[in-house]
Symmetry: C2
Subunit: 708 residues, 2 copies
Amino acid sequence: MHGSEKALVLKEKFMTEISRDPSFRSHDIHDLSKEAIRERTMEKFGSMVHYVINEPLREFNLRMQLVSTADPAFWTRFGVHFGLFLGALRGGCTPGQMNYWIEKGAIGLNGVIGCFGMTELAHGSNVAGLETTATLDERTDEFVIHTPHLGATKWWIGGAASTATHCAVFAQLIVKGKKHGVKTFVVQLRDTKTFQLKPGVMIGDIGKKMGRDGIDNGYIQFTHVRIPRAHMLMKHTQVSRDGIVTDPPLAQLTYGALLSGRVGMVADSSNTAKRALTIAVRYAAVRRQFASGKNKLETQLLDYPIHQRRLMPLMAQAIAIGFTSLILTNMYEELTQALETLEPSDPNMHETLEKLKETHATSAGLKAFCTWACLETIEKCRQSCGGHGYSAYSTLPGMYQDFAVQCTWEGDNTILALQAGRSLVSSWESASRGKPLPPGVSYLASTETLTNKSNSKLDLGDIDKGWACVAANAVKKAAVDYARELGKGLSKDEAMERCSQSRFIAAKLHTIGYIFRMVKQAAETHATGPEKDVLVLNAKLYGLWQVEEQGAWFLKYGYFNAQQMDTVQETVDKLCLDLRKIAIPVVDSFAFSDHLVNSPLGRYDGRIYEAYFDQVRASNPPVKEHPYFARLIAPLLNRVNEADDEKDPEEAMGLEEELKELREASQSQKDAPQKVQVVGKGMGGKGVPGGGGSGAGGDVGQVVVDGK
Amino acid sequence: MHGSEKALVLKEKFMTEISRDPSFRSHDIHDLSKEAIRERTMEKFGSMVHYVINEPLREFNLRMQLVSTADPAFWTRFGVHFGLFLGALRGGCTPGQMNYWIEKGAIGLNGVIGCFGMTELAHGSNVAGLETTATLDERTDEFVIHTPHLGATKWWIGGAASTATHCAVFAQLIVKGKKHGVKTFVVQLRDTKTFQLKPGVMIGDIGKKMGRDGIDNGYIQFTHVRIPRAHMLMKHTQVSRDGIVTDPPLAQLTYGALLSGRVGMVADSSNTAKRALTIAVRYAAVRRQFASGKNKLETQLLDYPIHQRRLMPLMAQAIAIGFTSLILTNMYEELTQALETLEPSDPNMHETLEKLKETHATSAGLKAFCTWACLETIEKCRQSCGGHGYSAYSTLPGMYQDFAVQCTWEGDNTILALQAGRSLVSSWESASRGKPLPPGVSYLASTETLTNKSNSKLDLGDIDKGWACVAANAVKKAAVDYARELGKGLSKDEAMERCSQSRFIAAKLHTIGYIFRMVKQAAETHATGPEKDVLVLNAKLYGLWQVEEQGAWFLKYGYFNAQQMDTVQETVDKLCLDLRKIAIPVVDSFAFSDHLVNSPLGRYDGRIYEAYFDQVRASNPPVKEHPYFARLIAPLLNRVNEADDEKDPEEAMGLEEELKELREASQSQKDAPQKVQVVGKGMGGKGVPGGGGSGAGGDVGQVVVDGK
């Protein structure tokens, strides 16, 4: 599960280090204000900068993977510079430009702290539609960066509010009045000595978020900010001194940049789900509720079949996603290496690009369905802890709040799923024209032969064939729907939109089948002995539980019949029980320290009530004085009998008698001149505003004309 | 949707009132600390106490329903006294006891503020297993209330931390050494004048939660606290002066108390979902992303078929649940009236109790699946707003965090679903023995004739038959599974646990079918003209979308075949488009004021970006001085060249030369006595701790033996 023994040893080393690093203390984080979390998060930069400079990249990446599970907000804030900003430079700089920024200190935060200015208030998914402008001023050889209107305000920019000195700004390149599409420009935001905003730069804090409050997201408005022409990143598109724009020959190569984030998020989905399950499974082993007979100890939650149903499939899923992420990471690393050495004349060019396209599409689907699966796992784990899962100290609420954004950033999940679906439809069309398919979708070519009744052994092979069958049929349906819409004379894009529900289903079934194949492969090839048995159990449970979840497609495409679906249900029940028996050692094998898990409900030693009580008590010490008893509670609790207040006000005022007097006075003055002021007894000599004669008071004869 | 015109007029009156009530100001709540929210929440008691005293109950209940959607934490804190505490008194007091507590001021918070001491640290669902004890001391005619160990600490008690003066404590009644089960006792917690804790009462704050931080949940430990015997609520069980315990003849009548909460939560599920949809649908009508052609305006999100798929079915569901709640509320009110007048000798006794049982079971399933549906709706609405849905100011994160607890309290959803399933299995058994069925499950008796192929008109009647068919078949399967387990010689309880997955599915399908029947009934009987068309559209969309969601059962039980399922998918696509066309007026008809919705993304006037920007800016004013630039950022950003730090330390120290000297000194002293201290040059005269001879420094010859 950890990739290698070395990786596990490293993980344990990293966990010891952060557990002893004072800036990573975690018991008090639930009660910190947003401001305090922000500052605490910045404290962590010190030690991590040390490692980023001194540690081999592969090792450091493993460290960051751990940190992303332990402290998602810090990981984001740190990653804004090291992942996004430096990634933009690496992807977009010429060698000379890169050297320039390295000398400025961009690698070690020593002179440059970067942020990533892509999204705007009115544009997220549609990057090509960004509205910030970068207009070349040929007279001064500068670009003028400008926010033309409110909707073009850079929005959600992590690190902008109070950390960054520079920003990689995505803006519409305008040269000689012509738009050339969105390019990247480095703009200095703040003076590095005084931290004052540079002229024309306006930055504000985005404020409170659902989670990850440790990251200081901000908004940025540029008002005619001038930067040297050389601060445009010119590896792909170049703008010369005299305003000649040269576009790149190979647009596809920018694929690679998106991949890295997705690969990381699949790993994080598995790790975060495992962390949540560590809490829920350990809690369910300690918590007891209801006895099965008189004078018996109450039953452990984990021994209830329904509780096994709530947690064991999620455990199998987290493990399956974990193996998928290991394989995906390897694929990504191989691909990155291949791309780095690739020349346009390379004979492997086509094959590598096809593989890139496939990995890109597969990773889109994986990012979407794995982050959704993880978010759901956290919430189900939280609910499985009953009321205590609602306590912030269980850590599960914070995990949910922190993780939720993964379903949106770096591509909204629904849109990514549809992208994956679009690619599957293309692959289907290729297959139907007899073209060779990349390995990840090779099952598409052989769908017809798979559509047969299983012999209901329900072994890994049967399950695998089943997933291939339903995925292929779902892709076929999407392709047929697409062709039908095209046939109506719609544009390709419009036809794709019209078949989006079918595309979505195709992507979902393809992705689940893909994950299943990965964990099956791990079970069959990488493990031996009892570990193999555990992995086979896991793979089966994941595959069959998902057969239930997606049962409609297995029945619709005739892979299983109704009776076999009953067998599937029985088998899942049994596999849940089997996995329950080893649930505690399996959870232990996730190898999270108590410090990292940071939940009294998920303690390794099972002393949950004591630890939970201690934490609640320590986090909420008694206050010396009630903050609002005197102001708000005492007046309510000790108020005089309301009957006094409710005495008839007419009687209290002696109003009837007054009215009689006033009527008489009115009568005697009826011939007096218009400009009068009648003031009742006890009204303190002030005029009573109101319209004369109309309304409820009209017959009283109070006429106020003066109006002052 | 609002029940009556009068109810809608009242709702609008209530909204105007709270929008002008300064304690209900809502624009700033996202940035308040837990302490500030607590105090703000208490401020709201003043005006609400006024209404609870002066408003007719029906009207006040409508007001509270609105407030529960607008401010769930206040509603909870207020409801702890008026719903739970007073509910416990009403349900458990003799008439004389009730008068006593009314005279003490329990109705108007005038002398008594109550809380509800049921759950304990180690016991939630299993109320009968609570461990707090109430032991009769016959010598003094008192009960001694005691917390015997940590797990018996009263936990999650709303209002306990800083509001309540009294608590309805659920404790094991012990008389003459014998346990008599859990009863209710009123225990004073604090002095009403000084608010000091009474002797023996220890209270702490539970602290930070996922949401609803306005409610002050606390824990309570009792240490031999003495209360008069008369403070036990004795309507059902009586304890006499000489310790004779009399148990009630009719235990069933306590059903009623649980119903009220469930009925309210079904209404709240609909209202809260509608509030979330108001935000998401209005946002999707204003937000544009991607143009379908050059120089075209970008497309409204709401015009994408996939976005319609994301939101329209949820809208149909929220509306369907709304009608279900109206019908359920009426049933509940009729039942409550019937129960109040019921005497043991009444000829309607059996019928009323059967109806109570059925409503109880139905409401259990509705509570579970409606609160789950609402929580999912909030999250899907949040995700459909993209990144902006992650901003606290969108209000959707807070809604999720506040609502999540509804899936747990007053019965964990999974457990409630299983209770509903258990009742369905019993009903099935009754039906198979030829007994008459209560109306809510009457379809169970006629399942055989429903299992036929639909003619695929897909009108409301077809859909209704489909739900009856799959629900009946699922209940049958659960009953068959149960009988099979019983046949293995298991106890009834154990057999029920073994078939819990089938029971769960039966409850789910029954509940969805029930909700469908309710909205179908509303569409067919209560509406006319264009409103009827809208309702029929809604009912169809809800019913057919759920056919897709639960497609496996429709295929498994042969109600639809594969081809018909394709027709269902096409029809849902079309219904989504139809509903999209009227989505804005439908959302407007939910009739929430901007103040109540409290989200710039969901503004009635559509000025989302301006309002969002204004709120972000107002909530996050610029700070005068960076809180940690000097301490944390500057030292990182402007640090000296690290190359200096990395100078070879051996060289810097001149270590080699020193080592040579030391070796020579060691050599010359090798015959000296054991007790030596060797101190290196520049070490400041202090001993260097470390083990002599072993490890990396061993060969240096530094031997420290003294150890001080």
